[in-house]
Subunit: 139 residues, 3 copies
């Protein structure tokens, strides 16, 4: 059993951007010494999140609507009253979706469905330089 | 440290079906060579989800109501406008609940609470043949 | 590769209490034999949840509002009709947020962001003695 750690690094461009990071994650596995195990993805930061979705433009728009339902941008936030950075809703959405995702891999391949992609959600209100940790545990 | 991978396979019968997969998951651990570790459950597919709940009929009905609140079935979905498969809400619910669950096990036993079960949520609008990956990492 | 298991134990005082368990989790890693791996946190029980948030009073209040939006306390719950323990909303909130969180660690340090803490959410309606399992897998 071994542990290998790599980082995905990218720049986001706007609030609500949804990035498909499946290929980058698959590449981490391919470049590792491991054949079978689990890829644990984690966002260090409290205004980004990771989940899976069928990555097509319709659903990306629908997810944006659903996030607005979870924590409306124009609601009143105590965070805003104290810090005035305009991203109270970003934090709340991130806490509900969650910063982590664990995906098994077998024979060096993520066990995703055919129409299922791993996505990073930029929930903050401004462009950010983002890092996602990919920790592999396996053999 | 080793990795073992098994699959749970079952057929669902209707949208909103909530299946208790606790016993099946416990059986995977019992049939493995491992004593302590983590069971990582993962749904390959973008219209199913995994979480835990106290598996009693009242809460199963309540969860269905809550999922409708998260992503109402009769809302307008861009996914529907493009693909016409009637399951835009299914995808969105699945992305919010999430496709993965990690449960520690010790002495070959899942560390669940007494009234806590692992459940698969069939969020799609039609019966499906489903697979859940159970990846064990441990020793 | 090894597995180590510890438990965080604490008493909660009221519904909606949000406890910062980052330091306790970091201490588990420091006291272990492991340098790199993943910390899997899990709540045995169906009315508690784990996520991350920037732990400041504004956001803690905002998260409480968002949980009320997810599953309002004064809505009608089938669970309540059967069991009369007043916590139908607690169960539903817990199932949506989820009982598990996986955080990578490197060089004996959690890979959290600077303003990101690990939190336990007491979603039940009364004080509880709580246990959170911290299962480390790594080397």
């Amino acid at each position: 059993m071994t542990v290998e750690s790599q980082e995905l690094r990218f720049r986001t461009h706007r609030e609500g951007e949804i990035l498909d990071i499946t290929d980058k994650t698959q590449t981490v596995i391919e470049s590792s010494r491991m054949r079978n195990g689990v890829a644990v993805l984690f966002v260090p930061g409290s205004t980004g999140a990771i989940t899976t979705i069928e990555y097509e433009p319709g659903l990306l728009a629908d997810l944006t609507v659903a996030l607005e339902r979870l924590a409306p941008k124009d609601a009143s936030y105590e965070h805003e009253k104290r810090w005035h950075d305009g991203n109270g809703h970003s934090h709340i959405r991130a806490s509900i979706i969650g910063p982590d995702l664990s995906v098994p891999f077998r024979d060096k391949k993520l066990t995703l469905g055919t129409w299922q992609q791993i996505v990073f959600l930029e929930l903050d209100v401004r462009p950010r330089d983002r890092t996602v940790i990919v920790q592999l545990v396996g053999e």
